[in-house]
Each structure stands twice: as C-alpha cells, then as structure tokens.
Amino acid sequence: MELLNTFIKGVFIENMIFAYFLGMCSYLAVSKSVKTANGLGLAVIFVLGVTVPLNYLLENYVLKEGALSWLDADFATVDLGFLSFLMYIAVVASVVQLVEMIVEKFAPALYGALGIFLPLIAVNCSILGGALFMQDRQYPTLAEATSFSLGSGVGWWFAIVAIAAIREKLRYSHVPAPLRGLGITFIITGLMGLAFMSLMGIEI
C-alpha cells in the first residue's frame, strides 16, 4: 500500500513539472506534437525508472556515511557524500547513452523524431532531480525508491502529453502575436500547475 501511495504522490501531488518545474527545457521544446512528446515521455519514464534505483544502491552502499561498512569495519566512518553529484550524473549519462543505442537499433523512426533531445535526457533536470530528491527524502527501501521514480516518470509523461495536446488545439485559436509559441505555453503551464495544486495536501 505504501508503494502505491508513493507512486500516486509522484504522479499527481509532487508532479515533476507542475510542482517542481523539473525538466522544463525539453518539456517546452518537444511539446509541439503529441507523437514526439509521447516518445520522449516514455524515454524519460524508462531512464528515471532505471537510474533512480541504481543511484539508490550507490547512495546506500557506497556514498553515505558508514555505507561502506559492508566492505570492512574500518570504513564505517568514511563519508563520500560530497561525491554524490559526480557519481549520479555519471550513472545518468551512461544509462542515457545505453538508451540511445537501444532506441537507434530497435525504433529508428522514433530516434529520428527525438533527434537531439535523446542525448539531452542526460541533462534533463528531472532525471538528476529524481536522484537528488531520492537522496533528500531518504526512502527506506529500494522498492519505495523505485515506485517514487516510476511515479515521477509517469507524472512527467502525463504533463508533456497533456501540454502537447493543448498546443495542437491552440493552433486554431487567435493568440496575440507576441504571446504565440513560448509565451502562451508558459502561461498555460502555469494555469495547469494551479489546477494541479488543488491536489496538494491530499492524504492517500
């Protein structure tokens, strides 16, 4: 039950886009059509779902103070916490490289459509943000960290598909010229964020 709670919290209440603004760059740039948005969203779910558990293991068995004590009792006082940024980003960058190769091999059409944004998942703030939130909130078990990461991935996918659908419809409406494109997307995201805030504080 605890796992389901963390998952639903990640999707709706602590949504990466609407509550923390993480991964905004690709969210704004790739949300012109639902199809590519969907592809990128799925890639983000996958990368988040893989990297956060990996980083969880890294945090708890290598980096945290006393985490190395499984090696030898002498290491119980070693604290490698200051290295966490470097280690996390290294894990993220290598997983992204792997995903890029897999997508290129098995889904060349999607690879062409995502273009530059696939390697840019490495610098998508929501991925590293997932790892840092995991470290910040100190989830007790690996399963819970995984359900958090999947939840926030699904939340991100949901947000980008929703805005892409709205932007496709927006083509047919009369937006003031200076507001077209980026400006109106910002404002709509803000309004969607306000709507999502009504979910805040819900205890499941």
């Binding site: 603004f21 980003i89 980026l182």
Partner: protein, 230 residues
C-alpha cells in the same frame, strides 16, 4: 574564476572590442537564455519566492557558466567528440561541487533552502547549452564573456520574477546578509485592523511561470523580430 588571459590572439583585437561587448549585451535581450533560447528554466522558477535565494542562485550560476565555458574552451582541442558530453558533465559537476561546499560553509541557511537546486545547476541547460554552442568552438576569453553574458541574462529574469513575487507575496525584500526587510507597517494588515493583505497566490510556484510568460509577452511586443509562428 577569471583565469583567461587573451595573450594568444595573433591579430591582437582589443579586449573589449565591439564583437566582445556584443557577447555580453546580446544575452540580456535579443538572445536571452530564458525567454528566447528556452534554457535553464527548471531552476529559474522554483527558487524565486525570495530575492535572497534568487541572488545567491544567480551568483552560483554565473560562476559555473563562466568557469565551465573557460575550462571547456581551453580543453576543446583535446576532447574526443564522442565522449564530450561526459567530459562536460564532469567538469561542470566538479565546479558545482565547489560552489555547493562554499555555500554550505558560508550561507548554510540559504543552502538549506535551495536544497536540490544547487545540485541541479549541473543539469541547468544554460551551462551545457552554452558549452555546446559556444565554448567548443571559441577561445577562452570570448567564452568567458559569453558565460558572463548568459549568466547575467539569467540573473535579470530571476531577479525580476523574485522581486515581484516577494514584494506582492510577503510585502518584503530580502537581501543576503540582511535578512528580510518588511516594507509595509504591520498595522496596515487585515489581521492588525488594516486594509492590506498579502497576495498568497503569487507565492505559489505556478505563478512564476505566468510571470515569465508576461515578461516574454512584453519583450516580444517591444522586439517583434522574436515573434514565433506558432
């Protein structure tokens, strides 16, 4: 981080030639990292509730953009193309670790409030974007100026949004080292029998997005060349 010296220029163009000045002034308006290049939005919006946090955050970002640009520009001829993203990330991550440790030592309470967002400077698209687009193909001195310019472009948006949000949301202004300065007398508030109340809506995170949307609107109506088709 002011390490670059322009000794290698064969034609000896002046340090602040017209081209170099443009590197600093362009990102403030025509190619602003946030409103035009759409880079670095992630962290820009989450930490603009208080001016103090915004100032510290922008200083950190300026340090990292300048440092990262200069270091990568100095290494640009030795980095193999295939692994350049990882090299860039490692350089940027090392700089961010330094910034993070300095903040923890000298501004512990601000560092606490910024929480994960200092770490997220690593993935701040401004830094990677400028390294990819500029530092990989230019000498250290112009790269330094480009980093400074883009850092400043990021800073003014951040400061504008943070000032509006703090002023309307809590009726105060906070500066590093001085704490929060209340601008309105306490008797004016409804809770003390007055007529004024803070607008809590502005404190909510989505309002930052709407404020940036309005900045974009104003900027593009003054500068019609930036208007998009759709």
């Amino acid at each position: 981080m002011t390490t670059a010296s322009p000794v290698q220029a064969p034609a000896r163009e002046p340090l602040f030639s017209k081209k170099n000045r443009k590197l600093i002034s362009d990102p403030l308006n025509d190619s602003n990292p946030i409103t035009v290049q759409v880079l670095g939005i992630c962290s820009a919006l989450a930490i603009t509730v208080q001016l103090q946090q915004a100032i510290i955050m922008s200083l950190s970002v300026i340090v990292v953009t300048m440092g990262g640009n200069v270091l990568i520009s100095m290494m640009r001829n030795f980095i193999p193309d295939r692994i350049r993203i990882i090299v860039q990330l490692v350089v940027v991550a090392a700089l961010v670790i330094i910034v993070d440790q300095v903040l923890k030592a000298y501004q512990p309470d601000v560092s606490e409030k910024l929480s994960v967002f200092v770490g997220l400077i690593i993935t701040n698209c401004i830094i990677m974007g400028r390294i990819e687009a500029f530092a990989l193909g230019n000498k250290p001195w112009p790269s330094l100026l480009d980093g400074l310019g883009n850092g400043l472009g990021y800073t003014w948006i951040l400061l504008a949004v943070a000032t509006v949000r703090e002023l309307l949301g809590s009726g105060a202004i906070s500066l590093p080292g001085m704490g929060q300065i209340k601008l309105l007398p306490q008797e004016w508030f409804i809770s003390n029998g007055g007529l004024y109340e803070n607008n809590n809506l502005v404190i909510l995170p989505p309002m930052a997005l709407i404020l940036v949307g309005i900045i974009i609107w104003v900027q593009r109506s003054r500068n019609p060349s930036l208007i998009e088709e759709h």
